[in-house]
Amino acid sequence: MIKLFSLKQQKKDGEPSPRPGNQKKASAAQLRITKDINELNLPKTCTTEFPDPDDLLTFKLIICPDEGFYRTGRFIFSFKVGPNYPHEPPKVKCETQVYHPNIDQQGNVCLNILREDWKPVLTINSIVYGLQYLFLEPNPEDPLNKEAAEVLTNNRRLFEQNVQKAIRGGYVGGIYFDRCLK
């Protein structure tokens, strides 16, 4: 244990800074995101796009699956990392309309680590792998798009056809999907 200050020690107001250049410091979120982004280890099916290279907190992830139901498509996700990262997860939305049991028409994505199972030790990379996995193994157990989930459970061939129709652009179950072929 130490004595942190002697009783005589007076602190002074506005004494000159011993450090040159009194600039705003980087936030803990910025320190962490710099690390996360520099060490992004993307699967070969994924690329990122940073509209402003100075802003590492806002970017897009593009996934082009090379196997599974969705192998012919190209899907774009937007990432917004908040000032409380990594205490809070980034906000992720799917910008491509997709016929998928775990993604709804508004682009909400049901992935546990984006909400209830997020932990500060997880990284942007964990989310990328989680999203990629959603395209390989769509999960009809926890649906956001209930109709798609039912089709997947009851008729995999029809599900496959519906996915392809949606990717090429057109109506599936009365909903119009924009074309998103690779």
Partner: protein, 443 residues
């Protein structure tokens, strides 16, 4: 002895019993003396961050303990719903600054006490402001604010040849409450676990699985979250983002949540619950605030006087059912993003000539760093700037030109912090540039 002196002696007689004689719980190096009381009253300078539920209690406790030089920061104004527990405020104060009203109340009630209010954000002040304090006490409800002040205090540490200069340590005593639960902790920046070391300890916001909200709601909260997360962006009823303080917005959410709860036969939707879920309100309990503030104020007293060994270092409190407390030593994380590193200083001979490319070569080749693919960012005039990042194609393409610019051309100044991320280090390193020539022409 004059009458004044006599009453003063009486007023502080309890403190003098602790400070002027040793006791079984005294710190081993404690030297009892009457000077200690003088120190508390005349030299010791405290900063209280937050003048809300905890802040009101803290200010009262500290002022009654004899501390006279206290600053308080709070950016909020007083709301009707504060009055049941934030006892320094009255009905007529609604709309006024919490910091200002709290300060004037304490100054009026407690003779000799001089609380100086700051109606502002903690981010409005720089290290010159924070350096004037002996101890900082936080009664905050925001994790972002805690992380900010923690980062500030760590960045103010000085090191001599890698050895921490203890004079630069400003202890931080941090209290937090949520309903019937609370915690109090003592942080010695650079020496013990900091806020960032223990980020996992802060309860995450309650987030329900999206698919449950969308398809299999069971709780009234699920219905409210559905309206907030899915229906609001879909229908966009007022063509503006949802504002939890707008009664029209809350009324809309209430109505739609009610419809959904009827559809699924879920009882329990009330207007209050809707408000609570939308604004993430956890009801504040006055007695929890009082307990946690009391513990924090005691820790401040212990640190300021050295009369007792301070808490080591994290206490949890729960009085949902009986009273439970537990104190343990939260551990400093070896790879903490904020406090694990001593600042590295990199001497630059000629920042007008030295190109960013050469700086990268230095980081790769010097024995001290041996980096593989460092990514460099910095903060210039409060804005984040990416200097170079080879690993991300879209960033590399647009920062490539920076490689051939000199440090001065890039706007980097003497003393600039460069954030360096590389696979060779578990954290982002902060490297401070030190320009060793004195005729640098700055633009």
């Amino acid at each position: 002895m004059s009458e004044f002196q006599e009453s003063n002696q009486k007023r502080w007689s309890h403190l003098r019993k602790v400070l002027e004689r040793p006791g079984p719980f005294s710190h081993p190096e404690f030297e009892p003396s009457s000077e200690i009381l003088d120190f508390i009253m005349s030299s010791c300078k405290l900063l209280v961050i937050g003048a809300g539920g905890l802040g009101c209690e803290l200010l009262k406790d500290l002022a009654l303990l004899g501390f006279k030089n206290i600053h308080v920061i709070d950016m909020d104004t007083i709301d009707l719903s504060n009055l049941n527990r934030q006892f320094l405020f009255r009905h007529k104060d609604i709309g006024s600054s919490k910091a200002e009203i709290a300060a004037s109340f304490i100054n009026k009630k407690i003779p000799g006490c001089q609380v100086i209010p700051h109606f502002s954000k903690i981010q409005d002040f720089d290290e010159n402001f924070y350096r004037q304090f002996h101890i900082i006490v936080c009664g905050l409800d925001s994790i972002v604010a805690r992380r900010w002040i923690n980062g500030m205090l760590v960045s103010m540490l000085n090191y001599d040849d890698g050895v921490l200069d203890q004079q630069s340590v400003i202890p931080m005593v941090d209290g937090g409450t949520e309903g019937f639960k609370g915690n109090a902790r003592v942080i010695l920046p650079g020496m013990s676990a900091c806020v960032e070391c223990t980020l996992d300890l802060y309860p995450p916001q309650v987030n329900y699985p999206l698919c449950t909200i969308a398809n299999t709601p069971r709780l009234p909260e699920h219905c409210i979250e559905y309206v907030k997360l899915i229906l609001w962006p879909q229908e966009n009823p007022f063509n503006v983002p949802l504002d939890g303080d707008d009664t029209q917005h809350i009324a809309w959410i209430y109505e739609k949540s009610m419809e959904r709860s009827l559809q699924f036969n879920i009882p329990g939707i009330t207007y209050r619950l809707v408000q609570g879920v939308v604004k993430h309100i956890i009801p504040a309990v006055a007695s929890t605030n009082a307990v946690i503030a009391g513990i924090c104020a005691t820790e401040v007293f212990k640190i300021a006087t050295s009369c007792c060994v301070p808490m080591n270092n994290y206490m949890v409190f729960n009085d949902v059912d009986g009273i439970y407390t537990y104190t343990y030593e939260a551990e400093k994380k070896e790879d903490c993003l904020v406090c694990s590193q001593t600042p590295q200083i990199l001497e630059i001979k000629d920042p007008n000539k030295m190109k960013l490319r050469q700086l990268l070569e230095l980081l790769a080749e010097s024995a001290a760093y041996q980096m593989k693919t460092p990514g460099l960012t910095t903060v210039i005039d409060g804005r984040n700037k990416t200097l170079y990042m080879a690993t991300i194609k879209s960033i590399e393409e647009r920062t490539r030109d920076n490689l051939n610019k000199s440090l001065v051309e890039l706007g980097l100044r003497d003393g600039q912090d460069i954030l360096v991320a590389d696979v060779t280090s578990p954290t982002t390193l902060i490297i401070k540039l030190k320009y060793v020539i004195d005729d640098v022409e700055m633009k």
